[in-house]
Symmetry: C2
């Protein structure tokens, strides 16, 4: 497929405009063809209007029809897998095996949501039947279920060109719930975005859905995204990226005359607690696995373990030796964009100058050093320096981590109490460690969306029980997740029917339970009819 460089607005292509931008190879710094055209404000209007027009029909297609649509998108993506992976590799420098697995994950997400909407119980129907004889007044018949919100805006993320971008988790869950989606492509991988956009458009066409179900808008800057979040016809928005950008879009969403739900997944440092028993029994293994986790994907994961608390002990040396050796021997990954690489080196340089750092190990500079390469960094400090310098606790995006040595348990409890919100916290320990640190777990439960035991936070499983979210600033809304099937609840609201005749109710709420789904009938979960 030939890339056009134009936005996809329903079945129409965007017009070529004056504002043109390119993708750049992170490895060579060279521009990649073709030029991409930023969308115009008229194109934003058109996309919003088409989405609004598509909503009534799309929100009411059956679960099976939506499932078929989501599966068609997955198949269309797989059809262009080779071109997609090659282009994504060009635009991101992420290794091809990683991109292949990200593609599989993206299609897996679409199929997971397909299975959820096909089954149908996600609409959470509740039925309270009438009681004409109730005193002092008769009880009406009340039935509610979840319904989609309306057009949803999704922002593509730089660090996951597939799984958190055009057909990523937010798009999948918004479409699954019955909402049209307008994606604002991330400008760092526009070609990848266009290819995926065509796959979704093909899905819309093959399934005979209204064209407004999907649009993809390009923009070299922020004005199109800002306009989308403020558009009166847009009913919710989801973003994955930096704290500054996420907060600024959140502020727009909540300052509207009619505020809309906004899901920003932003900054997380993902503290890891290496408890004494674990370090004693398997320090070298942990060093090796931790190194793999914080350097995975160039450390450009929102779940990268960026803070590692470890207790001073004679057993620590083996762990430290292996970890420092790994870092010293590491080659320098190529980061996604020049902006990310330079911010990484700026913070690294700043931290290197800090007097309270008592050790710094850096990886090798590459032999063929490209413009975006960044040396791996292991910073080490002690607990008092950490507590005295709050900036050390903030996210450092890229292949680094900060090791903090502590002497007594109370010190990590104090650190845990002082944490802001994070996506994850990780405990490495023995069963005894876990029992002895129940108080630490109790604190972490109030700070994060997911607690990992004897694993690593990177590698976010796409399943029903995943929570990828957490208290601010990990996200702007801790009540949801951006990964896993629970994310379908982001883009819905409950709607109640009072005393409606059976024929006029949506199938989910009809007496006969024609869809055979789980419902809460008079307070009991049943799959039976409510006749």
């Amino acid at each position: 497929m030939q890339l056009s460089g134009k936005s996809l607005i329903g079945f129409r292509d965007g017009a070529p405009g004056n504002d043109v931008f390119h993708a750049f190879s992170p490895s060579s710094g060279e521009m990649i063809a073709p030029p991409f055209h930023s969308a115009s404000t008229q194109e934003v209007e058109l996309a919003a209007k088409l989405a609004d027009e598509a909503f009534p029909a799309y929100s009411r297609i059956t679960g099976s029809e939506k499932a078929s649509f989501l599966r068609t998108i997955a198949a269309e993506i797989e059809r262009v897998a080779d071109q997609l992976v090659a282009r994504a590799h060009q635009e991101t420098a992420l290794p091809e095996p990683r991109l292949r697995s990200e593609l599989a994950r993206t299609c897996g997400q679409l199929r997971l949501f397909a299975s959820v909407v096909e089954e149908g119980s996600w609409t959470a129907p509740r039925i309270d039947r009438a009681d004409a004889n109730r005193k002092p007044i008769a009880k009406p018949d009340l039935r509610c279920k979840l319904v989609p919100l309306g057009p949803v805006v999704v922002f593509g993320a730089s660090n996951f060109p597939l799984a958190f971008s055009v057909a990523g988790g937010d798009t999948a869950s918004a479409l699954a719930a019955g909402n049209p989606v307008i994606v604002k492509a991330h400008p760092a991988h526009p070609g990848t975005s266009e290819l995926v956009g065509h796959a979704i458009r093909a899905g819309v066409q093959k399934c005979n859905l209204p064209e407004g179900v999907f649009a993809l808008l390009f923009d070299s800057g922020t004005s199109i995204g800002r306009r989308l979040v403020q558009h009166p016809l847009v009913k919710a928005a989801a973003f994955t990226g930096s704290l500054a950008a996420g907060r600024s879009l959140f502020d727009l969403a909540v300052s509207r005359p009619d505020p809309i739900p906004f899901y920003g997944e932003m900054a997380s440092t993902n503290p890891v607690f290496l408890l004494p028993g674990a370090v004693t029994t398997r320090g070298e293994k942990i060093a090796s696995d931790l190194y793999a986790s914080f350097t995975l994907g160039g450390g450009q994961f929102c779940t990268k373990p960026g803070l590692v608390f470890v207790r001073e002990s004679p057993h620590l040396q083996d762990f430290l030796t292996v970890l420092r050796e790994k870092v010293s021997a590491s080659s320098s990954p190529t980061l996604l964009t020049r902006g990310i690489a330079s911010a990484y080196e700026q913070v690294s340089a700043h931290r290197s100058r800090e007097v309270h750092l008592d050790s710094l190990t850096r990886g090798k500079s590459s032999e063929s050093k490209g413009p975006n390469t960044a040396a791996v960094a292991l910073f080490e400090t002690d607990i008092s320096a950490f507590l005295a310098n709050p900036s050390l606790a903030s996210e450092h995006f890229g292949p680094s981590t900060l090791l903090i040595r502590y002497a007594v348990k109370e010190q990590i409890l104090e650190c845990a109490r002082g944490l802001v919100g994070h996506l994850t916290a990780t405990i490495q320990g023995t069963a005894e460690d876990l029992q002895e640190h129940a108080d630490l777990i109790r604190i972490l439960e109030t700070k994060v969306g997911r607690i990992v035991f004897n694993g690593y936070p990177t590698g976010v499983e796409v399943c029903h029980a995943m929570v990828h979210g957490g208290p601010y600033p990990a996200s702007t809304d801790p009540r949801t997740t951006s990964v896993g099937s629970l994310a379908i609840l982001r883009f819905v609201r409950p709607l109640c029917y009072q005393d409606f005749p059976n024929f006029a109710l949506p199938p989910e709420l009809q007496n006969e339970n024609p869809l055979g789904i789980w419902r809460l009938v008079d307070g009991e979960y049943v799959r039976a009819s409510a006749c």
Copy 2:
């Protein structure tokens, strides 16, 4: 019980301060003893600190313990029912039978949430079991459930001194979910608030819970409420009241360094569509029931039907005659506060002067006219005047409604498309009307939280399927309800455990399913164990 006029901060009473205010009798305008003392900023700090300290313990008591606590509160309220109803009548002028039924509803709400937390499935556990043999990488074990957010601030509402105030729906759902609650009492019924506050305090004491589980703060103005919403230890807030006050608190909540969920239930005009078949077959009955609904409680319900669309037809006359007669013969209710009464008369006077009103019927002025009495008002206009004057669509709080005559169906579709968010929409019609107006229903489904067929929106059933909420400005968050058991989802977030040993998991997530609750295990709803 003797009223003290002091805030209740845990088990301590607020200090007497310089800022003193009184309740006023809406009937006579006279001050009612005792004086009430506004809370100080130090008392806000203390309440927040105690709530934060209570959270770890309170959030982890069992469902049975919480149920017992909620039932104890209900019993404590019933113990002082006579004094409570008498005081509420003094402070609000609402009739005693209404207050008795509101008290029963308030206790019913507490008991409904008690049954929900006792049963336990509301925590929505999800379990995805590990698969060590999965390729290319082993699948971890992931388990999530809902957990409480932390201290919640609840604002008492003027129009429901019991059911939407100190121990109202928001307090019940926040406590049920495991959150400490700080209530800001509404200054129009401080004595009622204090009595209920003591009932909750007694519940905390009898159930041996930490004192910070509950606080009640008085304030004559807005500063304590604003401070509470901005307090770093407060994790969510809920408000029922005017659009201006609700939006201003919402703006504070989302402008915090760490934004928090804010649930404002605000303005709703609750459109009613009287379809032709209904008017033809039972016009007089509808007139009489509609009159009862819009004048119920002095028209001071958020669900008051304030817009009534009716088609021009020869059959309309009987309906109109009865409705006008009812209004003409009505005596004037006493409204809750001088502010509400004067705003009601101001808008009434403004509407009376509008040239596009083609009929105005007013109720009788009372013989013993008090300061807050307000004559019932029936405004009538036609569809073109309505569409030309957007202010007619806004909420007019008090005993009035606006009747809008239309000629052809397309006109109400246009009106429906132009509606902002409302709590409810109501259809009066025959089964044929409903079928012929399926397009109207489709539009209303996108505008409201609840659609009523052949009933009236006032009288909000407290049950599992109720949705009392809706798109902005009906609420600041359409994703939830403020009435019914679904409201427990307001004050929670999902938390996930990865690869935790069984002993270290909360009981809801343990293999054996010791609580016997419904769980989504590997994508299937089951009540069995997951061993």
